[in-house]
């Protein structure tokens, strides 16, 4: 029987899981180191058996449930925030779409009005110019002839 053997069993002896046999008991009676180790093991065992194990506070369960409710509430708040943001975005898209439709009609109406104005102005100009049409035509022919003669004199045509 060696100290190593007995020291390995000190915790089992202290816990009462094993009783020292004759040889082990004899060793413990003669070896102060092993006897001291067994005494320490017994003190530790005694401490552990009496180790304070405080109970949870009286309002513990209520506190846990309150935290769970708070977490649920936070999750709901987050979902609400995302939902509200999505709704705001959808509303913006709807409003933007309606505004775009409204603007297209306005643009189309504006373009139509502008075309009418241009057509009216053209008709009025034609009516005013009609009596002097021959004069304008002769002037245009004369200008065109002058331009052609200048181009010809400057050697525009390969001779």
């Amino acid at each position: 029987m060696t100290c190593h053997d007995v020291l390995n069993l000190a915790e089992a002896f202290a816990a009462g899981d094993r009783q020292p046999d004759e040889a082990e008991r004899a060793h413990l009676e003669t070896c102060p180191r092993c006897a001291s180790a067994l005494a320490d093991a017994r003190r530790i065992e005694a401490f552990l058996l009496a180790w304070p194990a405080p109970e949870a506070p009286a309002r513990f369960t209520a506190s846990v449930q309150q935290r769970i409710r708070r977490l649920h509430w936070q999750v709901e708040q987050r979902v609400d925030r995302v939902f509200n943001a999505a709704m705001a975005l959808a509303a913006c898209l709807v409003v933007g779409g309606i505004a775009a439709l409204f603007n297209v009609e306005l643009l189309l109406a504006g373009a139509g009005a502008l075309a009418d104005v241009v057509a009216l102005a053209a008709a009025e100009a034609f009516e005013r110019a009609a009596p002097s049409a021959v004069t304008y035509l002769a002037a245009m022919v004369m200008v065109a002839s002058a331009v052609a003669m200048r181009w010809w004199t400057e050697g525009g045509i390969e001779r």
Binding site: A10, E11, A15, D17, S36, D40, A53, E55, S63, V64
Partner: protein, 172 residues
């Protein structure tokens, strides 16, 4: 607690019965609280950590399939929560508050015993610490600890002896 009752309680919780979850907390709160009290060095954290454990239980209940016992699953959550809390604490502080060596004669003064053993406990590996903290609580069985730590039953007993031996060596 009978297995059938436990399953029924879990089923009620899974159906969203708040009262059932309250019963579950009531049933396990003292065990969880005591385990955490013994596991963490900073006692001001115990209440928050115990609540965190039950928040995790609440979050995990819809996925709990009953393959392990409810108590086993809760012990595992406690163990993980305490290990994480210790890790966070270790990051913040140095490990300078180690146990003082004992007197040569190995004697423990009664007034110092608790403080010194608790400081020595803080130096045990996490699984040993959990085993010692949980084993010496009423109602905690070897089988549940073995399941929680994924160890064979015999290994749990061996680890428990080793943990106590390490504790003794730290104190002498």
């Amino acid at each position: 607690m009978a297995e059938f009752d436990e399953r029924e309680l879990v089923a009620r919780c899974q159906r969203g019965d708040d009262g059932a979850f309250g019963e579950l907390v009531e049933r396990y709160k003292n065990l969880v609280y005591a385990m955490i009290y013994r596991m963490v060095e900073d006692r001001s954290q115990v209440d928050d950590l115990a609540q965190d454990v039950f928040l995790k239980v609440h979050r995990g209940l819809p996925y709990f399939r009953g393959e392990a016992r409810l108590s086993t699953w809760i012990y595992r959550i406690v163990s993980n929560e305490c290990v994480q809390a210790r890790g966070r604490r270790r990051e913040r502080t140095s490990t300078s508050d180690v146990a003082e060596p004992a007197a040569a004669d190995g004697a423990f003064a009664d007034l110092e015993v608790r403080d010194r053993i608790e400081k020595a406990m803080a130096q045990l590996p996490d699984n040993y610490r959990f085993l010692v903290a949980a084993h010496y609580l009423k109602g905690v069985q070897y089988e549940a600890l073995a399941e929680a730590l994924n160890l064979p039953l015999g290994t749990v007993k061996t680890h428990l002896y080793r943990a106590k031996r390490q504790l003794r060596e730290l104190l002498t």
